[in-house]
């Protein structure tokens, strides 16, 4: 292995690691706020990418129907309570869950998004996929939001299986790619850096900074942090844990869908691609103990690099090497941190 190969591998590892880092952040965020281990995180990656593919091909993405159906379900679930709380509440609920999906659906159906510029297509894909996050929270998790972590985990597995099955139904078994955001490439010594990999790393950095600003500077961000630190305490201070849950799922959906859209030009995305990518993000999140954002991001980057180099040295054992990383990390963590029996 010479320097050039090492540099190419490192570049590849960093690009993949950036995506894993985003997913690791989303997993940590959801777990900290709601105690849900969000296995379906990866599905948002696939849904985001494949929805964009469908829009570019001039097809109606199946996720649109899912959003309409879940919107109707949420409206039915929350309708009676909103009715009692007054007309404005009800109007807000119906606007979000019925009018918005129909406007988006009409736009997708009528305005021929395959002829739009790429950026608008991406925005439309996000507008379709992102509402699924809070909707899934409302339907699957909110009724059991006080349940033990184990039950939340079991529900996560169920949601994951349902979403993968729907993914196959919506998008079919074959994979797809999207055109690159930018065809540009830069020469740096012996190294060629593609514009798309810069997009991935740049967008990841931007999202990380944006999340930081959101948590440090905005009221909602602070509410989320408060819920993560102490649920009961936050509640006593008038912070709605349900709202915090929905908000964290919204952010997770944004991150997931955006990750999918970012990697779709680099690799072929299948209806079930997201799971493995999410799992690698999860390994990164575990390195951070499902609590620390910077350590989780660093852990995810480590996973990306490890994967890249092990695919060179021992390609048949790549996944084994990546997932075995979790064992020494867990041993080290259980030796160094005091275990607190805080749950249940």
């Amino acid at each position: 292995m010479d320097l050039q190969i090492a540099l190419l591998l490192a570049q590849d590892g960093i690009v993949n690691g950036a995506i894993y880092a985003l997913l690791a952040l989303a997993l940590v965020l959801v777990f900290a706020v709601t105690r849900v281990i969000f296995i379906p995180q990866g599905e948002f990656v696939a849904y985001g990418a494949l929805t964009l593919v469908a829009l570019q091909a001039g097809r109606l993405p199946g996720t649109l129907w899912l959003m309409l159906a879940l919107g109707a379900a949420v409206a039915a679930l929350d309708g009676p309570a909103a009715w009692r709380l007054g007309r404005r509440r009800l109007a807000g609920l119906l606007g979000r869950q019925l009018v918005y999906p129909f406007v988006i659906a009409a736009l997708t159906y009528g305005a021929a998004p395959q002829d739009w510029p790429m950026l608008l297509q991406v925005a439309l894909a996000l507008a379709i996929v992102v509402p699924l996050g809070p909707q899934i929270y409302r339907v699957a998790y909110q009724p059991i939001e006080e349940a033990p972590v184990l039950i939340l985990l079991i529900v996560s597995v169920a949601v994951h299986l349902v979403l993968v099955g729907l993914g196959l139904l919506f998008f079919g078994a074959e994979g797809s790619r999207t055109p690159a955001f930018s065809e540009a490439s830069f020469e740096l010594g012996d190294l060629t850096i593609s514009g798309q990999s810069l997009w991935v790393v740049g967008a990841s950095l931007f999202l990380i900074v944006a999340l930081y600003v959101f948590f440090e500077r905005s009221l909602y961000g602070k509410a989320l942090r408060a819920t993560a630190i102490n649920r009961a305490g936050a509640r006593l201070m008038g912070i709605s844990t349900t709202l915090a849950g929905k908000l964290s799922f919204l952010l997770a959906a944004v991150i997931g869908a955006l990750s999918g859209i970012l990697i779709a030009p680099i690799t072929t995305v299948y209806y079930d691609t997201g799971f493995l990518i999410g799992l690698k993000g999860f390994v990164g999140a575990i390195v951070g103990g499902l609590a620390s954002y910077p350590v989780a991001a660093a852990g995810a980057l480590l996973v990306g690099l490890l994967e890249s180099f092990s695919s060179f040295w021992a390609s048949a054992f790549k996944e084994v090497i990546v997932f075995t990383l979790i064992i020494p990390v867990l041993v080290w963590r259980s030796l160094t941190t005091r275990h607190v029996e805080d749950d249940e």
């Binding site: 591998l9 196959l168 078994a173 072929t268 079930d272 040295w313 390609s315 048949a316």
Partner: protein, 385 residues
């Protein structure tokens, strides 16, 4: 009161058994396909093909009972048992993939029911296993395809060849066959790498392959995941020849791979290029028949070679069943045995993938007419004459 109650329960039981027991003398065909899970891209066209199969053979009505095994071996076995015990099928078609088909052999042999597999491995019909008496298959063996590739490589003057394959039974099977035949042809294997169907990057493997400076690279993958190493090879500036296996022969692969696939060589069943076959080719007529029928039902350009394996299984059945009907009634042990004998006696049956000539030692029955070399030219398959 009591007697009326028992009368009612008898009536219910009778009604239920009427529902489950198939009508007498219909031929019942159990189908196990992998319509979901990792092999879904193979299983879905197979499932679509079942819908095109004849609904009556030799004057008897044919019922197809299709179950999905989700690409899972345990489910495949469970479905097979269900078809045999509850639906009392006369023959099983399935499954899509090799591990499932291998696991089903024991079950069908125990029930003495013929089975026609749509999976590729030669092991499924390995004559050394006595249970294989009941098992037939339609896809070409990997070894037939490997021979075609090595022949083409040798003719093109390639001496050093690299291999990138799936890290599963498909990739390993190919590596095993290919490395053996390549050695016999004096082709040196300079690198051998593996990757997973779900991998998002194969940069490491590709760099290692390129460092070995091969004249040609063989990618042993199935469906669209096989496009990833090829795209990465071209992206990193590899200029040599690239070979794929017949596992990629569908249009989704061409679409995903795009211009990076220009000039790729692969062996495939003749059905892939049915229109381009010379009229003298004995397979042309039967292959075109399938292509036209499938595309009429599922749209132009939708046909795949995988669905054609299911079609061939249907042709074998339609050819053998009338002979078996002369000997026994469907639904009986005698009929199943007669059907097995008739399948084994298949002679010169022109199907979508070639001409079948079965024998006691060969339950595949395809010869060299069952493969052609194809090149990707301008985003389409082109027959190499």
């Amino acid at each position: 009161m009591k007697s009326s109650q028992s009368l009612l329960s008898v009536a219910i039981v009778a009604a239920l058994s009427m529902l489950t027991a198939p009508a007498q003398a219909d031929i019942n065909v159990g189908v196990v396909v992998s319509a979901t899970g990792p092999a879904a891209s193979l299983g879905i066209p197979e499932k679509n093909t079942i819908a095109l199969m004849p609904t009556s053979i030799g004057g008897e009505k044919v019922n197809y009972i299709v179950l999905d095994d989700a690409s899972d071996t345990t489910t495949a076995v469970k479905n097979t048992r269900k078809l045999l015990t509850e639906d009392k099928v006369d023959v099983i078609i399935g499954s899509t993939i090799t591990p499932n088909s291998l696991a089903m052999i024991d079950v069908v042999a125990e029930a003495e029911t013929p089975m026609i597999s749509m999976a590729a491995s030669a092991k499924i019909v390995d004559a050394a296993n006595p249970k294989v008496k009941w098992v037939f298959k339609t896809p070409q063996n990997d070894v037939q395809m490997s021979t075609a590739i090595t022949e083409h490589m040798a003719n093109a003057g390639a001496q050093n060849v690299a291999f990138i394959g799936f890290a599963d039974a498909y990739g390993e099977g190919w590596f095993h066959e290919f490395s053996k035949i390549a050695e016999a042809r004096k082709i040196k294997l300079v690198a051998s790498e593996r990757y997973n169907r779900s991998d998002t990057s194969v940069t490491g493997q590709v760099l290692k392959v390129m460092a070995a400076k091969p004249d040609a690279v063989l990618i042993a993958g199935a469906g669209t995941p096989a496009a990833l190493p090829q795209k990465t090879l071209r992206e990193k500036g590899y200029k040599g020849a690239i070979y794929q296996t017949h596992g990629v022969a569908n249009n989704a692969f061409l679409k995903v791979c795009g211009k990076d696939c220009e000039g790729t060589f692969l062996p495939a069943g003749p059905v892939l290029v049915a229109k381009q076959l010379p009229d003298a080719n004995p397979v042309k007529k039967s292959a075109m028949a399938y292509v036209q029928k499938y595309e009429a039902a599922n749209g132009a350009g939708s046909v795949t070679t995988f669905g054609a394996h299911a079609w061939d299984a249907g042709l074998l059945l339609a050819n053998a069943a009338p002979q078996a009907l002369k000997k026994a009634k469907p639904g009986t042990k005698e009929f199943r045995a007669a059907l097995r004998d008739a399948l084994e006696g298949t002679r010169e049956l022109a199907a979508a993938h070639g001409i079948f000539n079965m024998s006691a030692s060969d339950h595949l029955g395809l010869d060299q007419r069952a493969r052609v070399m194809v090149e990707v030219v301008k985003g389409d398959w082109k027959l190499i004459k």
